[in-house]
């Protein structure tokens, strides 16, 4: 309930400010709401949201898979860690914009470049977290699994993944937020569709109503994914922990 009140106060404050300023640059909730509805009806908004969401999912998946493999290798093998650590430092400190420009110049202004640029931006974050996860794997449980001759599948499913679960949750949550922010930049620079593209063209027209309506829709979508997908998965992975008394 408090959340709803708090949200209502935010919207009321916005409406009040818009009424006082009376400017094109700060449209009220009603104007934004009408724009949103019109865009929803015309199919424009769902189309661009779907483009963006598709890119988010694919680049997120690529970054997670590569990051888990690389992070696991670096956490388990000292040699791999020594060799790959300088690269990781470079990747971690590379500005997102530089990666995006490189990808568009070398690969071309296409979907592959866009998705790769986003994935590369997220990758080092996954590697760093998963490396810690691999370092924290319990050697005693590993020994137990070997003594009882667990199959590889059993070992991965029942011994390794549950130990990785908190690290996976941490990097999917932090990762999702990085990915969707960078996807918009990538779309702004070099894609003919997606939320970032629309925001870019609305910016050149100073069309604040459209910018706000897309931004709000996108934030709502991300909150829904977070609340209905990421958090329940996390709770499921943690149900064995003793509840705090």
């Amino acid at each position: 309930m408090t959340r709803i009140y708090s949200l209502a106060i935010l919207i009321a404050g916005w409406a009040l400010a818009a009424a006082l300023v009376q400017s094109r640059l700060l449209p009220g909730p009603l104007t934004v709401g009408t724009t949103m509805l019109a865009d929803l009806r015309s199919g424009e908004l769902p189309f661009h949201m779907a483009c963006t969401l598709g890119r988010v999912i694919i680049s997120f998946a690529i970054a997670m898979i590569l990051g888990i493999v690389a992070g696991y290798a670096m956490g388990r093998s000292k040699t791999a860690d020594r060799y790959a650590d300088p690269w990781l430092t470079v990747l971690l400190n590379m500005p997102a914009l530089v990666t995006i420009i490189f990808a568009y110049i070398w690969i071309g202004l296409n979907e592959t470049a866009a998705i790769l640029a986003v994935a590369v931006n997220k990758l080092p974050n996954v590697i760093v977290i998963m490396r810690e996860g691999a370092r924290a794997l319990d050697p005693e449980l590993d020994e137990m699994a070997r003594a009882f001759k667990f199959s590889l599948l059993t070992r991965v499913r029942h011994v390794t993944i549950p130990q990785f679960a908190p690290y996976l949750a941490a990097c999917s949550r932090s990762g999702l937020s990085i990915v969707w922010k960078i996807v918009l930049v990538v779309e702004l620079i070099g894609r003919p569709n997606g939320v970032g593209f629309v925001l870019g063209s609305a910016f050149s027209l100073f069309d604040m109503a459209q910018i706000l309506s897309y931004a709000i829709c996108f934030i709502v979508l991300m909150l829904v994914i977070e609340g209905y997908l990421v958090q329940p998965l996390e709770r499921r992975a943690n149900r064995w922990r003793r509840r705090p008394a």
């Binding site: 005693e140 449980l141 020994e143 137990m144 070997r146 003594a147 009882f148 001759k149 667990f150 199959s151 059993t154 029942h158 011994v159 549950p162 679960a165 992975a237 064995w240 922990r241 003793r242």
Partner: protein, 246 residues
């Protein structure tokens, strides 16, 4: 269920086992250890804390291939093991923990009898974090027996339990090993416990460790009363002090 006749004895022959300590100097833990345990019998390794008992057990379990020597394990190599700490998977229930140790084709096996003997019946759906140490140890023992092992290793499974619970668990262990006739090697630093449980005693010295005395005990294990345990204990202690003097 298998009988004593159809399995080979356990033979351990560790010429030398060395490991590198944290500062890089090699430490020899075991030298010239020879052990033979008849199939279906219960052997106890007794030695002072830190003498390398756990090292020997890990080698017998095939978990540590880095030693000079030879091991021959009884039966088809189905191993059951109880570690010093229960080593349960905290994210799986008691029942899942036990079932995971079953051989691949046997994952639906009936565990009722085993679970009843160990008094785990009402705890199957709980997670290890909710169990007392005694119950966690019972779960670890159930896991070791669930796969019908033909070779069983136990590493001080009753330390830091209170006396009454430890006594009950010892009785349960005797019952289970007698029923299944599994070749068992039990590690402990408690001589009385070893005398109570086993058919054969192996006494170890400080590191680098080897067997300094062996003794077969008369039947039947688990039913020896206090006086017999005490007299065998005195005899063993005398033997050890003689060896130390000579």
């Amino acid at each position: 269920m298998q009988t004593a006749g159809d399995a080979a004895p356990l033979e351990l022959c560790i010429e030398s086992k060395t490991y590198l300590s944290a500062d890089g100097t090699p430490v020899e833990v075991v030298r010239g250890l020879k052990l033979r345990l008849e199939a279906g019998s219960f052997g106890a390794l007794i030695g002072p804390s830190g003498c390398g008992k756990t090292t020997i057990l890990r080698i017998a379990a095939g978990l540590d291939p880095d030693f000079r020597g030879e091991i021959r394990t009884p039966g088809a190599g189905r191993l059951g093991i109880v570690f010093q700490e229960p080593r349960l998977l905290p994210w799986r229930t008691v029942e899942q923990n036990i079932r995971l140790a079953l051989p691949a084709g046997d994952s639906a096996a009936d565990l009722t009898e085993l679970v009843d003997i160990l008094g785990l019946g009402s705890h199957l759906a709980r997670y290890p974090g909710e169990l007392s140490l005694g119950l966690a140890r019972r779960t670890a023992i159930a896991r070791a027996f669930a796969g019908r092992p033909d070779f069983l290793l136990l590493d001080e499974p009753f330390v830091s339990l209170d006396q009454a619970i430890a006594d009950r668990l010892r009785d349960e262990l005797v019952a289970l090993t007698t029923r299944t006739r599994v070749t068992t090697l039990f590690v402990t630093h408690d001589l009385d416990e070893a005398i109570q449980l086993s058919d054969r005693l192996f006494l170890l010295c400080d590191r680098p460790t080897r067997i300094i005395a062996e003794k077969s005990l008369p039947p039947s294990r688990g039913k020896r009363d206090k006086d017999i345990v005490a007299s065998i204990g005195d005899e063993m202690r005398r033997l050890v002090s003689q060896m130390a003097a000579g």
